[in-house]
Amino acid sequence: MKKVLLTVFLVMATLGVQAQDKQTVSDVSLTIKDLAGRSQLPFKLETETAAVLFFIQQDCPISNRYAPEIARIVQDYKSKPVRFFLVYVDATVSAKEMEQHGREFSLPKIPVIHDAKHQLVAAVGASVTPEVAVVGQKGAIVYRGRIDNLYQALGKARRVVTERDLRNALEALLQNRAVPVARTAAIGCYISEQN
């Protein structure tokens, strides 16, 4: 009997690990209000190919340095079946501060979500800002990590960007190919666990 239980447990554990490997968000219907007060279901795709979540922080210099590139990416994929969200992870940032920050850094006009309780952070497993998660069909996290390889380490910026991982992932998805590199380590400010 014990053996059976142990086996069941092991099988379940293995399945759990496998599920984690595949990495889908646990609740595809997760609903959250954006800054404009509209209900958003960032993981629920309708006719789109993917949803892109930019995790940012208003006082993280690396996150801020990416503002122009975030704007360019949104612009470049404007006509493509991709949805974009800006997700502020700082628990204490106010609506006014987010609006002001968006204006100051000319962030694109896409839905802004204040993830004060880190529901989205936890759902996709984001750990730093800036970090990006690309969600495909059925909540599959098809890409998570850096926007590009501008930073090799904290304080070590490249002179030349050579890998544009997010763009590569989007190109692949739009052409119905597998994402070439599905996970990268994002470099930036750690998302505080104590919120």
């Binding site: 503002a67 000319s106 070590k156 002179r159 104590q194």
Partner: protein, 475 residues
């Protein structure tokens, strides 16, 4: 019964052990109030406070706890506080290095729950001077128009010529630099220019200031001394010091986080009448457009200095004669230069210059008795963090001491700072795809009467480098 007693005794023992253990952990635990706050307040808060250069403030428990993991990471990697020199054998003034013990304390605090401790034990924040750190300057000059730093793109190096309109020669003890847009101004090097050359370049450039070269010095040397090799003659006309000699009219510099440096007592930079102050500033885009107007405070010496000083640059003139030719893919291309001191000197400052693919910069003194002193030891050169270092005390180096400089370059694709992708062959030049390489030691002669002999030897060294280069080039 017996068993029960035994069990009770055992349980009691276990309980007391647990209590004891718990107490010990508590007594040895790291808290913000007791251990971490003094480190943060004394090493970080001078910049991490409102209105200063750092992107966020670190002034209380909540601020530091929120960034705890980041602080632990960047202090361990020594990215912060910004100080590129490794521990050598001499101490620097205003050194911003944490000790290994301080770094370990932050690590333990971050790993053990970042406890606040007893807020009553929190040390007070240091008193930070508002405005000019060195008091009211004798002369305040300001950029006449704003320089626009774009939101995005590579780092920018721009020079600005600021007229000082000095009717007479002056001696400068310190220069304090105050950036307007603090998040984008990374560093600024100061030079005097009595030739009017910088002013012309400034006027010719449609933008405020003028670009060109990685630093004003490089350009100036290339233009004026590039092939002539006669660098050190200006000293003859300024008997008090040799300011435009191998220091190239340098007046020091400022980097984000640095305190204004005052020259040691009795020493001053020479500032000829009518000269302009040139700021060679480094900007890095922050994600939004910024407009920079720098303000500079100049502090004059009351009287001419009592001693002259000079720079010993190895290899001379930023390595123009060092034959730099770095193949694409070279991991550890090395240049070296040595100089034997002809007289007793006392060193008080040091610095280094290379561009992006410079990797290690080592300056070592070997005294006649065989004792070795690491004077400046940079193992992870970063062009963005050029600093000018002042020793805490004068470093006595007797006649016969050999100075050895070794500079290495990493021209592989694995070097994130490589401006070329894929890497390409790199030679000496002032552009951002070119390289330079030299280290400097700033010294006074222990006996003032020995100064001409020292300067003569430096001149000979420059000539020697030039001759060697010419003969190897013609071969």
């Amino acid at each position: 019964m017996k068993i029960r007693i035994l069990v009770s005794i055992f349980a009691l023992g276990a309980l007391s052990l647990a209590l004891y253990g718990g107490q010990r952990a508590e007594g040895g635990s790291v808290t913000f109030a007791d251990h971490v706050a003094p480190i943060i307040f004394n090493n970080c808060t001078s910049c991490h406070r409102p209105g200063e250069a750092a992107p966020f403030v670190l002034m209380n428990y909540a601020d530091v706890q929120k960034r705890g993991k980041l602080i632990a990471a960047v202090t361990q990697s020594r990215q912060m506080p910004p100080w590129k020199a490794d521990a050598g054998d001499v101490e620097f003034k205003h050194e911003r290095r944490l000790t290994a013990a301080q770094i370990e304390t932050i690590q333990r605090w971050a790993a053990t729950g970042m406890h606040e401790g007893n807020p009553a034990k929190l040390p007070p924040l240091p008193k930070f001077a508002d405005g000019w750190q060195l008091g009211k300057p004798d002369l305040i000059v300001k950029m006449s128009e704003a320089f626009t730093v774009p939101a995005d793109g590579p780092d920018i190096y721009q020079n600005f010529a600021l007229p000082l309109n000095l009717p007479e020669d002056k001696w400068v003890r310190a220069i304090e630099f105050r950036p307007g847009a603090r998040t984008v101004v990374h560093h600024s090097l100061f030079f005097s220019d009595a030739t009017g050359e910088a002013r012309k370049l400034d006027a010719a450039d449609p933008q405020p200031g003028f670009s060109g070269g990685m630093a004003f010095t490089g350009q100036r040397f290339a233009a004026r001394f590039g092939l002539g090799g006669q660098a050190n003659d200006a000293s003859a006309t300024n008997p008090g010091a040799s300011p435009t000699g191998s220091l190239g009219g340098s007046l020091g510099g400022w980097a984000v986080g640095a305190q204004a440096r005052v020259m040691p007592e009795g020493l001053a930079y020479f500032l000829p009448k009518g000269s302009d102050l040139v700021l060679a500033s480094h900007f890095h885009p922050s994600g939004k457009v910024e407009k920079e107007i720098s303000t500079v405070g100049v502090y004059f010496a009351d009287k001419p200095p009592t001693k002259a000083f000079t720079g010993i640059q190895l290899p001379p003139l930023f390595g123009v004669f060092a034959g730099l030719d770095i193949p694409a893919g070279a991991k550890e291309y090395t240049i070296e230069d040595s100089f034997v001191l002809p007289v007793d000197v006392k060193a008080f400052g040091t610095g280094a210059h290379a561009h992006y693919i410079g990797k290690t910069m080592h300056l070592k003194a070997t005294l006649p008795n065989g004792q070795e002193k690491k004077l400046l030891w940079i193992n992870d050169w970063d062009f963005a963090w050029q600093d000018q270092y002042q020793f805490k005390d004068f470093v006595a180096l007797p006649k016969g001491t050999r100075l050895d400089v070794k500079i290495t370059y990493d021209n592989t694709a694995g070097n994130p700072r490589n401006p070329s992708s894929p890497p390409r062959r790199v030679k000496w030049g002032e552009g951002s795809f070119d390289e330079m390489g030299s280290m400097s030691l700033i010294v006074v002669a222990a006996n003032e009467a020995d100064m001409p002999a020292l300067q003569g030897a430096i001149r000979n060294h420059v000539r020697g480098a030039f001759t060697k280069r010419r003969s190897s080039a013609s071969r």
